[in-house]
C-alpha cells in the first residue's frame, strides 16, 4: 500500500509543486496512480504529513505490519527485493512470483503545462532550502493557479540575514498560463518592525512569448528578520485558462523556519542527470561490457521498465534501445517544456 505524502522533489518530474489543499493532494495521488498505471491501493497522508512524521519522517521508507497491527519490519528506503524476502519469511513462499512485467503497467507521462516554458531565465537556487509559508486559503476564493515557493539560504534561516527566494510556480493541475497582454505578476511584502528587506515590492519581467508557463521569480536580500516575526506577502496576477484570464489576489504568511516537508526542488540543489550521465548509469550494470543490457544487468526499478524499451522483444536492450530509455528517463526528470 503506498502512502502518498508531500513532494520530495517539487519541479523534478514534470512541473509539480507542493499542493496547498487536501483536494490538490488527492488529485496528485490520483495522477500518480494514472502515471504509474498501477492498481495497488493507496492511502493519502493528511496535509500536515502526520503519518509520515509518526513513522520516522523519511520520503521513501517502508514498513511491514502484521495482522495484529504490529510493525514487524522497517527500512529507511523501500526495497522491493527485500520486502519480497520479508513476506516469504513471514507468510511463506508464493507459487508464482509476480514479476514487474506481469503487472503490465500502463505508464503515462506527467501532466504538462498548458503553455511552453517561455524565455525567462530561471533564478539559480543552489544551496537554498524551503521555509514555512502559510497560504491564506479561502474556500470561496480563486484557485491558487500559481503557488509560492519560498526558499532561504542557511544564514537567513539560522541568523536572520541572507537570501530569500520567492517563486510563483504555475500548478499544472490547474491548467493556467501567463499571457503577455495581461499585467505582470506583482507582489508586496508587509514586514513588522525589525525586518529589513532589500525590496518590499516586485514586478515580474515580461516574457517575449505570447503565452508561457515559466515561474515568476525574485531574489531578495534580507538584512534582518527576527525569528519570532512573520512577513505577510500579497501577490496579484492574471492566470489564463483555456477560455478566460482570472485576476487573482492571494496572501501568504512567511516564517523564518525551515520547512521540513518542503522537499528539495530541482534547481535548489537536487541533481538531475544529463543524458550522458543517465546512459552511463544504465550501462554501469553492463557486467560483460558488450554495450548491451539484459534485464538482470539493471536495478529492480529499471527492470520494471525493461519491456517498455525492448522494442524488438529479443530480451536484450541494444544501443538504440538504451539510448531511447536514457532519453525518456532524462526527459521525465526534466521540467516539461
Amino acid at each position: 500500500m503506498l502512502v502518498y505524502k508531500s513532494l520530495a522533489h517539487p519541479e523534478l518530474v514534470g512541473t509539480y509543486v507542493q499542493p496547498f489543499t487536501l483536494d490538490e493532494r488527492l488529485a496528485h495521488s490520483q495522477q500518480a496512480i494514472k502515471e504509474l498505471g498501477t492498481t495497488m491501493p493507496w492511502l493519502v497522508d493528511q496535509m500536515d504529513n502526520r503519518l509520515k512524521h509518526a513513522l520516522g519522517d523519511r520520503p521513501n521508507s517502508e514498513y511491514v505490519i502484521d495482522p495484529l497491527g504490529k510493525i514487524v519490519r522497517k527500512r529507511a528506503w523501500s526495497n522491493p527485493g527485500e520486502v519480497r524476502k520479508d513476506l516469504e519469511e513471514l507468510v511463506g513462499k508464493v507459487k508464482k512470483t509476480t514479476l514487474p512485467e506481469d503487472l503490465k503497467l500502463n505508464v503515462v507521462p506527467p501532466l504538462a503545462q498548458s503553455a511552453p516554458k517561455g524565455d525567462l531565465a530561471p533564478i539559480p537556487r543552489a544551496g537554498l532550502f524551503p521555509i514555512v509559508i502559510k497560504p491564506q486559503l479561502d474556500k470561496d476564493g480563486d484557485l491558487f493557479y500559481a503557488k509560492l515557493r519560498c526558499e532561504a539560504d542557511p544564514p537567513l534561516i539560522d541568523e536572520g540575514k541572507g537570501k530569500l527566494y520567492l517563486g510563483f510556480h504555475l500548478d499544472p493541475l490547474h491548467r493556467a498560463h501567463w499571457n503577455k497582454l495581461q499585467k505582470p505578476l506583482r507582489f508586496e511584502l508587509t514586514a513588522p518592525e525589525g525586518v529589513k528587506l532589500s525590496a518590499t515590492t516586485g514586478e515580474s519581467p515580461k516574457s517575449s512569448s505570447e503565452n508561457d508557463s515559466a515561474p515568476r521569480e525574485f531574489l531578495l536580500d534580507v538584512n534582518s528578520w527576527p525569528a519570532d516575526k512573520t512577513i505577510q506577502l500579497t501577490v496579484a496576477y492574471d492566470a489564463c485558462t483555456e477560455d478566460l484570464c482570472h485576476s487573482v489576489k492571494q496572501t501568504y504568511v512567511l516564517s523564518r523556519q525551515r520547512d521540513q516537508d518542503g522537499g528539495r526542488a530541482k534547481s535548489a540543489g537536487f541533481r538531475v542527470l544529463t543524458l550522458e550521465q543517465m546512459t552511463q548509469r544504465l550501462l554501469a550494470g553492463d557486467k560483460n561490457g558488450d554495450g548491451k543490457l539484459i534485464k538482470e544487468e539493471l536495478n529492480s526499478i529499471q527492470q520494471s521498465r525493461f519491456l517498455d524499451y525492448d522494442f524488438n522483444k529479443d530480451g536484450v536492450l541494444e544501443k538504440d534501445e538504451i539510448q531511447t530509455m536514457a532519453e525518456q528517463l532524462t526527459a521525465s526528470a526534466e521540467s516539461k517544456e
Binding site: M1, L2, D23, I65, S78, V94, T98, L329
Partner: protein, 74 residues
C-alpha cells in the same frame, strides 16, 4: 490469511536502488531503525484518506499483512 503485497512503484526511476542508498547512508539507516516506532511497536493509530478522499483509519489495516511504502509524484 490474505497477503497484501504491493510493490513500491513510485516515480523514482532516476534514483539509486535502496541497497546503494543504505550503503551510502549507513548512519541515517541506523538512526531510522532505532527511531520510534521500532520493530515490535504497534502501528500508530491515525486517520488518513483514500485517493477518493474518504477517511481511512490505520487501525483498519489489522487482519492481514500489509506493506506500507511512502512515496509521491516526484
Amino acid at each position: 490469511m490474505r497477503i497484501t503485497l504491493f510493490m513500491a512503484m513510485t516515480a523514482l526511476l532516476t534514483m539509486s536502488p535502496a541497497a546503494a542508498w543504505a550503503q551510502r547512508n549507513p548512519k541515517k539507516e541506523a538512526e531510522f531503525l532505532i527511531t520510534r516506532p521500532v520493530v515490535g511497536d504497534p502501528l500508530p493509530e491515525l486517520t488518513v484518506y483514500t485517493p477518493e478522499g474518504k477517511e481511512f483509519k490505520t487501525a483498519d489495516l489489522r487482519g492481514h499483512y500489509t506493506v506500507l511504502t511512502f512515496g509521491c509524484l516526484t
